[in-house]
């Protein structure tokens, strides 16, 4: 095991699909690796903990104790992939802290591979936050998530410079279906025999994107 991946799903904006991406990614990693630890730093929005309670822990970064509890676990090279669903309210504080404590440099030293999945929006807050990330995160570890349901058109050029992960929009009736707390993407793939359904295709397409992202990370690390 060469690196321990740490995926940080983030945006300075609420309701852009962070938890959806974190759910999809967590279920993909669980299917592929049989283990994943998710951290929910997102208690003010629809929460990852509600969807995946068996693999999700809550975390807070409001004070130093909370930061230590989270970051001292993220920096351990144990081979278990980790996913952080970072709420919009914690965005600034989290990346201020990671910059101060030198998280990215220490991660490299300890064979941790952080991947920042920045869920894009077309507003000014997102446009201001992205350059902040660019200053701190190497381009190879910064991925813009183009959630078609949110961006609804061309991705702003500022976000389109680096890696992009596309999430196509689901029709409203399917979105309502996947938003049920009891819904599992992997269970759906296993149980739905008709692989031509739109949802089946959508999940497989996203899992494939994650697989490609993981592969590109492995190739960069080799």
């Amino acid at each position: 095991m060469r690196h321990t991946p740490v995926y940080i799903v983030c945006s300075p904006r609420p309701l852009v699909g962070k938890t959806l991406v974190a759910r999809l990614l967590s279920e993909f990693l669980l299917l592929k690796n049989r283990e994943v630890t998710a951290f929910d730093v997102n208690l003010k929005e629809p929460s990852l903990l509600d969807f995946l309670p068996k693999i999700t822990e809550t975390a807070e970064i409001d004070d130093t104790v909370g930061k230590m509890a989270l970051m001292d676990r993220l920096i351990i090279h144990d081979g278990a992939p980790k996913v952080i669903d970072l709420g919009f309210h914690a965005f600034d504080e989290f990346f201020k802290m990671t910059e101060e404590i030198g998280f990215m440099k220490e991660a490299v030293r300890r064979s941790i591979a952080p991947v920042i999945l920045f869920v894009a929006d077309t507003d000014r807050v997102s446009a201001r936050s992205y350059p902040t990330l660019e200053r701190q995160i190497p381009p190879s570890a910064l991925v813009t998530v183009d959630n078609e349901y949110v961006v609804r058109g061309e991705l702003p050029p500022a976000f389109a410079r680096g890696k992009i992960l596309n999430i196509s929009a689901l029709p409203n009736f399917l979105k309502t279906y996947v938003d049920r707390l009891s819904f599992s993407f992997t269970d759906y793939l296993r149980q739905e025999k008709d692989s031509s359904t739109e949802l089946h295709q959508w999940i497989r397409r996203n899992y494939m994107s994650f697989r490609e992202l993981e592969l590109s990370m492995i190739l960069q690390g080799s």
């Binding site: 130093t64 104790v65 970051m71």
Partner: protein
């Protein structure tokens, strides 16, 4: 042999961070390969000695024998830099003693490099010390250190008061010590190791330690900021050791 340099760190008020600043100085010199010795005047039990036991000696600056121990050895010992952490309330008397023994005259004539790091507290009384201390500063490098580690304010909100103190002394240089995360500060206290060892995750005897990565990160970031202030005033040049070297802790 290089010209000896003496750095006095002091204040007439207690609890303003004298020993913290002394510790950052010893770490700075250590990282820049400048051989240094230190004297802790918190006799009989010194805080500085707890963190830097190998290079620190506890002295009582009010006694002639200990004054001889410090100043009569300036030209004979190999570390050319001497840092003296002066106990609260003793800065003015210590400077008066230095004047009386002719040390200040030696500094004025260039035989010795002498610098004073005056750690300021938040009160007008503390600021009044500046005028008193400055009377001794002919021939010395005088640094007014605003230590924000205790969330102190320095009348920045009252520009007239601020200017009357900080701009009154010609040739005094302001230094700013930023705030360090409280928990990180406490953890270093508990560990009783130099800041550099804490950052490097090492114990007292250079053994591997298990300090929090987050707290180490905060200390590293803070120490880099403090050292950038020392770089700004060209401290290694002042003590005659040339340019700061590339430092492992900042890589």
């Amino acid at each position: 042999m290089a010209k000896p340099a003496v750095i006095v760190v002091g204040a007439d008020k207690g609890g303003v961070g004298k020993t913290t600043v002394s510790r950052t100085l010893l770490d700075y010199f250590s990282a820049n390969n400048v051989l240094t010795r230190a004297f802790d005047t918190e006799s009989p039990r010194g805080t500085l000695k707890r963190f830097h036991p190998d290079i620190t000696e506890i002295v009582d600056m009010t006694t002639t024998s200990d004054q001889m121990k410090i100043f009569d050895t300036l030209n004979t010992v190999s570390p050319s830099v001497t840092v003296i952490d002066v106990r609260a309330g003793l800065l003015s008397p210590a400077l008066a003693s230095l004047r009386d023994i002719g040390f200040l005259d030696a500094a004025k004539s260039g035989q010795i490099t002498f610098a004073v790091f005056h750690i300021l507290g938040p009160s007008i009384a503390s600021l009044d010390e500046i005028a008193e201390t400055s009377n001794f500063m002919a021939g010395a490098r005088y640094f007014l250190v605003k230590n924000f580690i205790n969330d102190t304010q320095f009348f920045q909100w009252d520009q007239a008061t601020y200017n009357s103190y900080f701009h009154r002394i010609k040739d005094a240089t302001d230094l700013t010590i930023p705030k360090l995360n409280e928990m990180a500060y406490e953890q270093v206290e508990v560990a009783s190791v130099p800041f550099l060892k804490f950052v490097a995750n090492k114990g007292i005897s250079d053994d591997a330690a298990n300090y929090s990565f987050v707290l180490r990160g905060y200390v590293r970031h803070w120490l880099a900021n403090v050292w950038s202030e020392y770089d700004r005033i060209k401290l290694t040049d002042i003590v005659g050791s040339g340019k700061p070297t590339s430092r492992g802790g900042e890589k």
